[in-house]
Symmetry: D2
Subunit: 433 residues, 4 copies
């Protein structure tokens, strides 16, 4: 990794790209990117051109000597890459719509990162990412793969298990937690230390130190918890927080409040509303704005899109790897004994030291008894989902669903699976050979 730093953005036509470009510009002093390629597939060419033009205007305005191009040819784009980031969605928002609605018919949560919908997203995404890694192994074997693509933990575990590419999974939730706490406690984020325990979209904050002193107790009285724009809000149960002794991620509402969230989703669906559709409207608006040839910076409206801080997290990570910074970031990496009830190769979301030679996960000081079962139950599903994605086995996919805590019947799951497989057929070549 020399001075001619090259970054390839897979899914470059994403609406998030301007944030990433802004990040490269702001961090140029310490992370001197010399070349950026936005890569996408043919079906995404129109969006790529719109976002690409905006990115180009932003870079022009910055005056920095960064070579910039758009590409539809993955193999040539990857030549000499130092970092490859991913932020694509196989099947686009249409497939997300299926993930969010089909399960509802069978009395189950419809969500794109966990449950039946999350599994379908994994089945669509993993083979594509493994293909990318196969190209990387050949063309840029030493490059880092920075994976934003959801379900981020599962996808990262699949890459670690089935390829030799160095990879890290990223989520915006941990950085969001620090921002929430910084505002709540009125201290700079740098003075806060949070301990995260769990998996991607299934973590708990088990300790919060400010300048070496724990402030966890006072936070447990704050029933609102930390939250995000794309997850329905309900207040946490006060008794639960008290006895749990840690702060659940907002994604845990799908588990602790499954009944309520299912009812909400079913109502919304009855009204014809899904998160996929809401996002589609936001995206349409954003691309409308992006086309403004006078726009030369990231527009404010992007912040409403839900994935806030993703790009901040990504640029921070690449910066620390490049500079061997050895600072602490919360990442998705192989467990390797940090959680002693999980397999060594299981991807977990945990504090890590970021070095140039790899991520070093930090030990966790405490894992509440109460959360171990749920973590292993979801990890069990994740392992099986990866196996199903790689082998294209319907039986294994059903086994994964049968052991997911949000699936209350293997028989219902079987019917649902058949419907989902058929609907997603175009994106599941391994299942339909």
């Amino acid at each position: 990794m020399g001075k001619d730093l090259k970054v390839v953005v897979i899914g470059g036509g994403s609406s998030y790209t301007p944030e990433l470009i802004e990040g490269f510009i702001l961090n140029y002093a310490t992370f001197p990117v010399r070349e950026i390629v936005l890569l996408d597939i043919e079906a995404g060419e129109r969006k790529l051109n719109i976002v690409g033009a905006l990115a180009n205007r932003m870079l022009q305005k910055s005056g920095l000597p960064i070579k910039f191009s758009l590409s539809l040819d993955r193999r040539s784009a990857l030549v000499d890459a130092d970092f490859v980031t991913t932020q694509f969605r196989v099947g686009l928002l249409t497939a997300r719509g299926w993930d969010e609605t089909i399960p509802l018919k069978y009395g189950m949560i419809g969500q794109e990162t966990t449950g039946p919908g999350g599994m379908m997203k994994a089945l669509r995404t993993i083979p594509v990412l493994l293909d990318i890694c196969q190209d990387m192994e050949e063309i840029c074997p030493d490059a880092w793969l920075i994976n934003f693509t959801n379900p981020s933990g599962i996808v990262t575990e699949a890459v670690n298990k089935h390829t030799k590419i160095k990879t890290v999974g990223l989520c915006n939730a941990p950085i969001g937690a620090y921002k929430w706490l910084s505002e709540l406690l009125q201290v700079p984020a740098e003075q806060i230390y949070c301990e995260f325990v769990g998996l991607n979209h299934l973590h708990w904050i088990t300790e919060v130190f400010v300048n070496g002193e724990s402030v966890l107790e006072q936070l447990l009285d704050n029933k609102e918890g930390y939250s995000a724009k794309n997850v329905p809000q309900s207040e946490w149960n006060a008794s639960l927080l008290r006895s749990l002794g840690c702060i659940p991620s907002y994604y845990l509402k799908y588990f602790y409040l499954q009944q309520e969230l299912l009812a909400d989703q079913q109502e919304a669906a009855a009204r014809g509303e899904t998160r996929a559709e809401t996002v589609q409207h936001l995206e349409d608006e954003l691309f409308e704005i992006y086309q403004d040839v006078n726009l030369t910076e990231k527009p404010k409206q992007l912040e409403m899109r839900g994935g806030a801080f993703y790009s901040e997290a990504a640029v921070r990570l690449m910066n620390s790897i490049y500079n061997d910074s050895r600072d602490i970031q919360t990442l998705n990496v192989p467990n390797n004994g940090v959680l002693d009830f999980l397999p060594a190769e299981a991807s977990i979301e945990v504090n890590c030291i970021v070095t140039k030679h790899g991520m070093l996960p930090l030990p966790v000081s405490v894992v509440p008894t109460a959360i171990k079962g749920l973590i292993l139950a979801v990890k069990t599903y994740e392992q099986l989902a990866i196996e199903a994605a790689v082998t294209g086995s319907r039986d294994t996919a059903l086994l994964a669903l049968a052991h997911h805590p949000l699936v209350p019947s293997v028989n219902a799951a079987e019917q649902m699976l058949d419907e989902m497989l058929l609907t997603n057929k175009k994106f599941l070549p391994r299942f339909f050979q």
Copy 2:
């Protein structure tokens, strides 16, 4: 443990007692009991007298030199005991009725050994059993406690964690599995070796050898699985069995077919039927029969009661301990590393060598990835339920429910818990101090 073997049967007025007495008579040659005391509480005196009279007639007929008595005084009954067996139900069938019906109102499975109902049974039972153990520590500290009382795994773990009494938890399911296989395969049970993995009422049979050869594959084609009279029957999903590669216990239908069994229970409740009521009728009939002064043997009707083989299992276990037989039995004992994703002290249901100096759990050759999550999830609940029973903490009880795989909402669980606690108030002194 000398030649004057004394057995104390706690809950001696149970309808199961004649089976136990028959076991002592049949095994007298190798397990020469010299004294049997049937012990019960005052509320059970009538039943104790009826069963006691029958037991007395059985022993008289046998002509064996066994001293026999009934007692309502625990401390004097325990003097010089070598084995203490338990088969009582705190709150009797009335409380079982609550366990089976209250959860239904909140959209949850009502069952007396797992889920919300199982937890309530644990909360009622554990303090009573710890009291018994406290007496034993004082009066007969070297006696073995053979625990049939459900939820047997949880209760056994509580005794191991909180007392010094040597105990083993027993269930009739493993012995039932051997009988099922013996009939199905037409080989004596002694030539069969089953490997059990899991917890009480949550186990899978992961291997079956006949004369050293595995017959698992052919069994997985047998969709009916093994079953029992007190669990509703549904055929197992064929794809599930195939990909699981092992045979689930019939209790696992509450997890794999939660949706269906909940619907069944709700329908039955709507018709005014519960398992508690069915059992009450059976019991009434049995006691009617027991009163027949000409009856001098275990009546056939007892076999319909559901707990078949319990006594056979109990006598076999006591016999092997007494004789240091070192044979293999499937028992509930501390994990101690057999399942590496569970705590050392967690009670598991596993093959053991029975020696006079204790039970030695055998290693398991394989644990399918798919089942680990569910096992740890239920064990998590069990650990919390024990803590709640011992401390009388409502918060901990809610924490236990919130992490039970059959509980889909912590908020609904909170309301349900409050109703259940209030209903069971009489039997939960630690919660109402």
Copy 3:
């Protein structure tokens, strides 16, 4: 494994063979051998013929319908084998002499099963045994390999790591311990339960129960320990036994009394005496006796040979496998978590249940802190010695020696290793390619 039981004895010309033949005759009722082949190499033909003739006379006298033959052709001998036993010595007693004398020059213990000498024996033996297993994989893949060949633990681990053959390692020390205790305590061996912890030739007896009661304390006052004919006797240090709280195997004198035993060996060597020579004399005498055509039974003199009970142990083991007896025997099998500070695949010497589908190691109830380090130190050496034997790497062989507790200098070890390799050149083809 049907009724036509066939056993192949590799190293059939060994002086131990008559004991094995006696075992087959005595156990015929439960272990009905139909065919025995004594197999040896050409260099051993003379001994094979002498022992073979005696064995034949013994079998004739028994009148049992056992087919019997001698063979120098391994591949044809292995056809249809159910059990293959090994009791050979690569390099014969000459090589043993080297193992016992060369280390002395460098100030180190010379012994044929541990230390530098033990490693050389492993380097000579492992490749030969792996060759045998390769033939077995092809010709009789389901046969059991019962390995008596020393260093038995190391050799068994090598077979488990590098072949698919089912194997068990056997030593006469555990059975000897039971016989010692039976005589000392005046109770039948069947009423005794010893817990063994450690490796082959490196175990401690951590518990002794008689009829379920521990008698360990009284044994710790017995300073003589248990012993064997082929290990020099010194009294154990009383303070050591007291604080250790368990009974060390007599082989542990090489470690706890290294200084003294080294001095003894150096004195004996100065007088021109080695164990190899003593054994050579015994062997010569035995073969003289075996040639007596009137001899039709195992001669008494064989008991002085040192390997007493080896054959008893072997026949007992084969009998239990054949009959799926599920009794407890102390064997060398893969660790699989029994000792949590050792790798899963490490061969350990531990109580096992013998079933027809394999050996199931029993958990150990206690491992004294004091012995863990020595166990792992020796296991470290063993793992490296296996690697050296398989790869023929001099560097790895030196690494093994450098980490053996009986080797006080890597530089001296290097010189010694070079001398030993050269002396053993004929038997180490992988080191001299």
Copy 4:
């Protein structure tokens, strides 16, 4: 820990103190010490006064507002302490002389941090340090104990096991390794990342990265290894380094070259030379120099004393704790799963993140098989030595020696132990009650 930072230096009269004072002065900007107390015992008053006067001159010259005092009263000195450092030697250099010479008579290495001598030092030191901690628990329970006192790993483990005081063990070897590599490779130490595996005075460097690239291979060709003034030098065996694949600490020569170093020590002793005497001469010279009233800085001669960088390491550590720096330092902390073959509470020497709320050990990427046995063997001895120190049990002390890799006979060890105990009687009150 506020702005009024107070540091108490136990063993303040040590010749190392000027280096520590220099460190406080140089780091004042980030670590603003407001008060320093040099504490010593009455027997050390003369040295305390000499060193104290020099320290005072150094502080005066700096012009910094640091309150400074000398004290012989521990309890008053500890009031309001934030950091307590220790650098004392119970029994002074006289006792060190015993540690280095008595074992030689019995044919064993004489060394003050490992082997029989190291154990005696632990037996003398641990009770004193536990007394200090008892005072701290009462007077300054939140202060950090920074322990330089040897044997540092053992002593730190004793404090962690037997007190509630937050402590870290420090050694100058890791910082010395960085300085050696920085000079050898001609890169700033900050660009180097070394992975340390093992215990205090028993570690291996298993990886060295410079700017994210491994340079280990080239270092393994450098036979001299890294070394220090107070350990005899011999070149490492080239084959050993090659097959080991990592760099042994110079203290490992006592294990890998025991024979040679023992011979060296015996020769030196025959000539009347011991390290204790050499050090005594150096100390005498240093105190001569310290008395020069014109001296106002750390004299150059101190660097020859052997403990170079100790103070640098200590100030760096306190600075990072105070500032919550979250940088990486190599420290002695509880294992907690980092090395999976060691107990959780075992003190290991490993890279840690230093935070204000504690040390977070980093995972190790590889532990060569070859070194595990030696590590556990020495840790076994360490655990027993701690137990002996705390209980004052001669049997346990012998058990510790019997399992130390440098002790070749338990019988010889027993005689030696009795001589050492008697000689050290004055400093071993727990052994002579």
